[in-house]
Symmetry: C2
Subunit: 300 residues, 2 copies
């Protein structure tokens, strides 16, 4: 019988855990105890609270972690591997000393790029999972989120990548800027396409047109549903314009959760790209499984 | 002896009042009772608290107001005059009914532009003051602020204008986004120039490079002083790139307060423009004085 081990995706605001036997999921668990709210000494007890009942009394159980848990402010700093590099770098994993003798915790490093300066932590594991699922994938992988990442993959390696603050800007602008008066929870697709087209075409893209989201309401009588979608389109159009300045955007793998991924898909199809969607949670688990397999087989 | 009247610049977060006799200032007063915190029924008593002691008992004293006091959520909606138009439009002033018989309150309208949709409220009075000071000014006027405005002036009229959220974005990003960890109160000019150059040159400008402000700290070891200035440069460079796409940026009048105006001046001189600085408070009062003169002379 395959060994029991624990896969952990520990982000800033959430903790997701799978209790595994080989590549079979015995249990999926989650908690809102993200690394953002924890001090280094808290991580072990939070983890034990979640998985304690599954741990055999004898021996150490492998725990493989990815994500912000490995940041300087996390459980332990797992550093970065420098791109270009494979997405998984088992030699660079850090071992974390634990008080509980049932645990053998390892954290995967992030990936850094020196010029232009950029970092990722967690997304590299999703890229590894994507490559485990479809080893021949080459080209652009888009990972939408608060900080979206675009990763150029070739021959199984991360060649380069860029991060955009699009999601965080959208949240700040709709909740806390003057644009909060003209945006809301609704969505009207015509607005998204109008914003997208402006964001893609103009110098400075959607950035230069943000105030129009206010003015369109004051003097244009546009609805908040229209303008919320327009703001999203302006920002996403700007992001796409920047990405197009770096890479050919023709075939794109999107790794993300449903709603946000659909907006990226719509935007990419608008500019003629072919898109394949992948579930973020699935590929994260596949990446962690690949890391555990590499570790078990003594690779590299 | 010239008549006593009251000049009022009532913005979202501040109220500024000058007690005038003709074009002479008898007293300058201010309060933090901006329109943002007031309901329509509050404005009159706030004003009386500030100026009551100066009002003659007999007759009505003219009170000329500009700014957000004339917004739909202000004291009374003063509407907008449509550009192209002169900056002052006395025929469009609205009279506000008051309980106190000593007041004759009028609010100047804002200016709107239909395509692309944009609005201003208060800046038009500053443009009027600038033209009162130097009637021959033609070309671009830059009014830095939370929402900076660029106004193209020709033959004494506002031909067109654009608003950018640059100041508000800088505040949100440095206080509330992930970039708050790599920015602070300091300033290092080399950072400003690096950001400015990137913001001006790239497709999507500084928008695409915002995350570098985080990565430059994590893996580049840059100081928060450098990165705060870099972020400002990225945003200002993006704004300038957008403005350059609309108008020739060679001679620019800047109307603004010291520190922010200096950053705009530095950026404009970096791209070879000739800049003249004007104090915002001075030109506001000159614009209000011009409006009162027009009213007194029965113009137009």
């Amino acid at each position: 019988m395959a060994k029991l081990w624990i896969a952990v995706d520990w982000g800033t605001s959430n903790l997701r855990v799978w209790v595994m036997r080989g590549d079979k999921v015995l249990a999926g668990l989650s908690s809102d105890a993200g690394m953002g709210g924890l001090a280094p000494e808290d991580f072990e007890s939070v983890l034990i609270d979640l998985i304690g009942e599954y741990l055999p009394e004898q021996g150490r159980t492998d725990v493989i972690c990815c994500g912000m848990v490995g940041a300087a402010q996390g459980w332990q700093d797992a550093g970065y591997t420098g791109a270009p590099c494979p997405p998984l770098n088992p030699l660079d994993m850090v071992e974390v000393a634990t008080r509980d003798p049932r645990l053998a915790v390892r954290i995967l490093p992030g990936v850094k790029q020196v010029t232009p300066a950029d970092v990722m932590r967690g997304e590299e594991t999703q890229i590894a999972g994507l490559l485990a699922k479809a080893p021949d994938i080459e080209g652009l992988v888009c990972l939408p989120g608060t900080h979206s990442k675009w990763v150029f993959v070739r021959q199984g390696a991360i060649e380069g990548f860029r991060t955009y603050l699009t999601g965080e800007l959208f949240a700040l602008l709709t909740r806390q800027s003057v644009l909060r008066h003209s945006t809301g929870a609704g969505w009207q697709s015509e607005g998204f396409l109008e914003g997208l087209s402006t964001g893609l075409e103009r110098e400075g893209g959607g950035f230069a047109d943000l105030f129009s989201v206010r003015a369109d309401m004051l003097i244009g009588g546009r609805s908040t549903d229209f303008l919320t979608a327009k703001l999203s389109g302006l920002l996403l159009g700007s992001e796409l314009a920047a990405v197009r300045g770096l890479w050919a955007v023709d075939n794109v793998q999107i790794v993300g959760d449903a709603r946000l991924a659909q907006h990226y898909q719509q935007a990419l199809e608008y500019i003629g790209a072919t898109v394949v969607l992948h579930d973020a949670s699935d590929v994260t688990l596949m990446g962690l499984t690949q890391a555990w397999n590499d570790l078990s087989e003594g690779k590299p």
